[in-house]
Amino acid sequence: MPATENNLSIAHLILNASFLVQVVMLILVMASVISWAMIFQRERYQRKASGAFSYFEKQFWSGIDLNQLYRQSNGRNEMVEGIESIFRAGFKEFTRLRQTAGADSDAVMEGSMRAMRVALAREQEKLEENLPFLASVASVSPYIGLFGTVWGIMVSFLNIANAGQPSLATVAPGIAEALIATAMGLFAAIPAVLAYNKFSARAESLLSNYQTFAEEFSAILHRQVHSK
């Protein structure tokens, strides 16, 4: 009996768990791995987006000619993302509408603003990508773990009833094994909750920055339209 007690490690418990509990544990481990991958990815993406935003804003307000700024990003053949895409969408629409004859100034303004709104919506989508997954991991994985635990305890009690000799030594391993599932669920859920809160807050603040920028930019365009 002491020998088996010494062998009773967590790995041992996991390997000896019943099939359903093992499946639950596998699901939770997968959820944890994927959510951590998303956390890393989101962190990187949002950091880059906010870096790009501050860089572009500095450039924009440095007094550079807007045409030049537009051509500068034209030179790069990559896809444009972040704040720059909003600027480009607005400016492109603006110049196009200005070149067409007979367009009055209000229509020009409205068109460029609509283009910017569309670009803004796309950016929002990109910023908040994967966040729903984190949210659902955060809210569901404790329940999945709890389910595994309940099932494991049920099975172990059934085993005890069949064995007919309930003692602490027969009850304890089953319950310990079942509780691992809850621990795993919490382990997956806690980082997901924290990450979700952090990233959604950051996405919101970035979006409001974008919106402010779009408003300011449209004010500049408005001035250009009406100054003539």
């Binding site: 790995a11 791995v33 991958a37 990815q41 790069r76 444009v80 720059e84």
Partner: protein
């Protein structure tokens, strides 16, 4: 500007993070396990004195001190006292020696004075006297030396005797208290264990008595048992045998210090008698 959106690097990071966690966790777990199972050997330190044959009669003890419940502390105190006493005695001897030397010097001085005074009167006589005195002084010094030596020897002897006495006292104390008191209690424990497992056969009658000899290991496992004195009733004998067999392992034996175990419990005798039976 293109922001990296691929999942491969984050996925790799995440998987490596999880494996790291897993390794740390399992590693720590093993470490805890290791820490938890130090095997404690019982009573290693205190038994050496005990192993000396008890049969050696105690010599005249200078003074029997009251044995309290802490013999080891007692012994330590004794030793400390002895040390102190010895130091004191040595200091005394030193003082004596110094005094002797001083006296000798004073005598020498006096002698010289006398010699100066009587130099003219009786030079030869004075010389003779001086020689004699010198010889006397030397003799005195030698005597003092001899006395000192004998004293030191005596002291050493006394110390040895005291250590011996202390050892014997300790041994006596341990054997007295442990052997008589603890042995009784250990015996009672064993008997109680056996009694719990003993079902008296209906054929048991008053006056029956069966003696079993049980060989035990220090872990309490019964290696063999045999009937030394049968009661005459095979059922009663078998019941007694069965009682010991059913205990199988006397876990209480593990608490018994090894020396006492060796002396009293390696081969232990149980005597069964249905005294408390009504029939």
């Amino acid at each position: 500007m293109k922001f990296q959106k691929s999942l491969s690097l984050p996925l790799f990071l995440s998987v490596s993070f999880h494996t790291l966690l897993l390794v740390l966790f399992l590693g720590n777990w093993n470490f805890f396990k290791k820490e938890e199972e130090p095997y404690k050997p019982h009573y290693v330190t205190a038994t050496l004195v005990d192993l000396k044959p008890k049969a050696k009669a105690q010599p005249q003890q200078t003074k029997e001190q009251v044995l309290d419940s802490k013999p080891y502390e007692d012994l330590k105190n004794n030793k400390k006292q002895e040390e102190q006493r010895r130091m004191e005695a040595e200091a005394l001897v030193q003082q004596q020696k110094e005094q002797a030397a001083k006296e000798a010097a004073a005598e020498e001085l006096k002698k010289q004075k006398v010699k100066e005074e009587q130099a003219k009167i009786a030079k030869a006589k004075a010389e003779k006297e001086a020689a004699e005195k010198k010889r006397k002084a030397e003799e005195e010094a030698r005597k003092a030396e001899a006395a000192k030596k004998t004293k030191r020897e005596q002291e050493a002897q006394e110390e040895q005797r005291r250590i011996q006495a202390a050892q014997q006292k300790e041994a006596k104390h341990i054997s007295d208290t442990n052997d008589e008191v603890n042995t009784k209690s250990y015996e009672e424990m064993l008997i109680e264990r056996v009694e719990q497992n003993w079902s008296r056969p209906p054929s048991a009658r008053r006056g029956m008595e069966v003696t079993l000899e049980v060989n035990m290991l220090p872990t309490g496992i019964v290696t063999s048992l045999r009937i030394i004195k049968s009661s005459g009733d095979p059922a009663f004998d078998r019941a007694a045998e069965q009682a010991v067999k059913r205990v199988d392992r006397f876990t209480e034996v593990m608490q018994i210090p090894p020396d006492i175990f060796e002396k009293y419990f390696r081969v232990f005798r149980f005597t069964f008698s249905p005294e408390d039976l009504r029939s």
